[in-house]
């Protein structure tokens, strides 16, 4: 067995296109996050991988085996559902042992496997509890143990953290990642939370409107977004619309120096991360006069909201960085380093080009 490969996967529901021409490779033993806003088709894609939906076109292969037409119950990819979908009429142990029980394993074998898995998710003492008696975090652990009981080739999780509160969510992300690395199991997690994706994933697939926007490591996705959508969806970014010129971009009546690869006259959108813009006296191009309109102190970092000639923007400083504190109404200069500027085709121009 080796990785899972999707080729040209498309899914139509009636007239609407839920997933369009997805070509993806999931490396063996890696954790991949399908990341995107709600309704972007990531859950549909996961359900097609699980065999719960049949793709309209395209093929799915696991290792050398074509599994496109294999029904879910024969793929037996363990899956953790958003609602956890634990059976209320069974207790914790029976839930975990479900896949073994229905495949005809002996009672003792099933019970043994169930206790091993409950140990793994640190719920050894909870085997005889009813599902209704568990907390959200415990339910999630049971759901994970249950999906792993069948020793699946691929482990799927659909928004596994959405039913947990914020603090528990962070803990479970780390714990799940550690568990996955220990077992070395090919894992696909659907999420709309970029922090969650960046915490856990080896590789992130960013999706929007049924299309794969970018695939890459968390660092790639963050530092080298391939289009305006990814730059906007992953982390924060300031955007300016402009027109490409020789050696730079014209935004309003200002020209920003940038290593743009676009022909002159092309409609573009420029993005810069708030922490890459600087309010300092360092030499360099792209210095714009600005007025501070709002200051927000968030503890670990401080945000300055600015009004500039090319539009409003946000600059972010970690505490201790940026020597002198500034206040609302101060007149300053903001510096946009050319290598921090990401230039993308303007979304409407990009659409017209297709």
């Amino acid at each position: 067995m080796s990785g899972l490969v999707l080729k040209g996967i498309t899914k139509r529901f009636g007239g609407t296109l839920a997933v369009e021409q997805a070509d993806l490779t999931f490396e063996e033993g890696a954790l991949t996050a399908l990341l995107g806003p709600s309704g972007c088709g990531k859950t549909t894609l996961l359900r097609m991988i699980a065999g719960l939906e049949a793709p309209s076109t395209g093929s799915i292969t696991l290792g050398k085996r074509n599994i496109t037409d294999l029904p879910a119950h024969k793929r037996k990819f363990g899956m953790v559902f958003q609602s956890f979908a634990l059976f209320p009429h069974l207790n914790v142990r029976e839930n975990v042992a479900y896949s073994l029980t229905i495949s005809g394993a002996s009672k003792t074998a099933a019970a043994e496997k169930a206790s091993t898995l409950l140990d793994l998710v640190q719920l050894s003492a909870m085997g005889d509890r009813r599902i209704g008696e568990l907390s959200g975090g415990q339910r999630q652990r049971v759901a994970i143990a249950r999906a792993l009981a069948q020793e699946p080739d691929v482990f799927l999780l659909d928004e596994p953290m959405s039913a947990l509160d914020a603090k528990l969510r962070e803990e479970m992300q780390v714990e799940l990642r550690l568990l996955q690395q220990r077992l070395g199991i090919t894992t696909i997690v659907v999420t709309h939370d970029q922090r969650e994706a960046m915490t856990m994933a080896d590789s992130i697939v960013v999706m929007s409107n049924g299309r794969v926007e970018q695939v890459g490591s968390p660092q790639d996705i963050y530092h080298r977004p391939e289009n305006a959508f990814v730059a906007d969806f992953i982390g924060k970014a300031n955007f300016f619309d402009g027109v490409a010129e020789a050696g730079g971009i014209r935004v309003g009546d200002q020209t920003l120096v940038s290593k743009s690869k676009f022909h002159a006259g092309y409609q573009v959108r420029v993005a810069i991360r708030p922490e890459r813009a600087a309010l300092d006296d360092a030499e360099g191009p792209n210095r714009l006069p600005a007025t501070i309109t709002f200051v927000r102190d968030l503890g670990p970092h401080r945000e300055y909201h600015l009004d500039t000639a090319i539009g409003p923007m946000v600059v972010e400083y970690a505490i201790g960085e940026g020597a002198r504190p500034m206040k609302t109404g101060d007149h300053v200069e903001v510096r946009l380093p050319p290598d921090a500027l990401h230039v993308f085709p303007h979304p409407t121009a990009a659409m017209a080009a297709e």
Binding site: V5, L52, T61, T68, D69, P71, A72
Partner: protein, 327 residues
């Protein structure tokens, strides 16, 4: 497709689409359809077919295709020489009793159900047990109870007499009014036979049904609606009039229709409490099919007419309930 070429073809048994249906799932619907058609549809078709049949004097009946029975129902056998509306009048009484009793039941059940939905879940369950027990209680037992309560030598009339209420009524002069309404004889109040007793019993009969039918709609009423009205200065009665009642208007009407249909078939209460001259179509069906008259085709005709009236009301009520749920 160079990559796909090197891939093993899927195993034969695994080519079924995801979510393979049961093998017997092809047969099951048709078997069920046959069963349902046989038992739920054929009996009604038989009633309709036989309603066109003909009775043989001194014998049973034969298949035929005559409208005689329908003619008899609407204008009498001797039409056009002579017209009688006896059977239409019976249908009229069916409608009259059923309309009044169902409206009465819904009006009195509404405040009860409203109060019920505001109780705790456990208390609601306890009340529902009581309501359901009374709902399932056979018409014969209910009529038995009211018969004892209303009959002339026991129950309420006896109570009126022994407590001196009768004498008081006579003294005040209301007794004469009661006599005019047919609710008293020269000596004491009497409730049998009277329309009052008939409608009272019929209304009692469907009262638990109206609670059960109103319950879902009322329990889904959003309490924040009336709270919002209250914060805008509406008093309790104003809230009831401007918020609660308008939002349950459709289920209220739908429930009344369903109860009305149910009451069209009332038999025991009518035979016990209504004057023979004011009997209904249901009683006539009974006496034609199994009772003294033995005229099955004519009984079937009356059943068809009852069925048609009922169906029209059911469809109307169903549509209204749909509407109200969709909103």
């Amino acid at each position: 497709m160079s990559v796909a070429d090197g891939i093993d073809p899927p195993l034969g048994e695994e080519t079924a689409p995801a979510r393979a249906p049961f093998r017997w799932s092809r047969v099951l619907p048709w078997g069920l359809t046959a069963l349902i058609a046989l038992f739920c549809v054929v009996p009604f078709l038989l009633v309709i077919a036989i309603s066109f049949g003909r009775k043989i004097e001194g014998a049973a009946w034969v298949w035929d295709f005559t409208f005689e029975n329908y003619q008899r129902f609407f204008v009498g056998t001797l039409w056009p020489d002579e017209v009688t509306f006896l059977y239409l009048q019976q249908l009229g009484y069916s409608f009259w009793y059923a309309v009044i009793a169902s409206i009465l039941a819904v009006i009195t059940a509404l405040p009860f159900t409203l109060a019920l939905t505001r109780l705790s879940r456990r208390a609601q369950a306890a009340w529902l047990v009581f309501i359901l027990s009374s709902l399932s209680l056979s018409e014969v037992f209910i009529v038995m109870g009211w018969d004892i309560l209303l009959s002339n030598n026991s129950g309420l009339p006896a109570l009126f007499k022994s407590t001196g209420l009768t004498d008081w009524l006579k003294a005040v002069g209301w007794f004469d009014t009661l006599r005019e309404w047919g609710l008293a004889n020269p000596r004491n109040v009497k409730f049998k036979t009277s329309e009052f007793a008939t409608i009272l019993t019929m209304s009692y009969l469907v009262w638990p049904y109206s609670v059960i039918l109103l319950y879902p709609a009322l329990s889904r009423l959003d309490p924040s609606l009336s709270e919002a009205a209250r914060t805008m200065g509406a008093g309790n009665l104003t809230v009831l009039r401007t918020v609660t009642l308008p939002s349950v208007r459709l289920p209220l009407f739908g429930t009344t229709l369903l109860l009305f249909v149910f009451l069209l078939g009332t038999y025991v209460a009518i035979t016990v409490f209504a004057d023979p001259s004011k009997h209904t179509t249901a009683v006539a069906i009974y006496s034609n099919v199994r009772g003294a008259n033995l005229n099955a085709p004519f009984g079937a005709t009356q059943a068809v007419i009852l069925l048609v009236s009922a169906s029209v009301c059911l469809v109307l009520g169903h549509t209204l309930n749909r509407w109200s749920e969709a909103r």
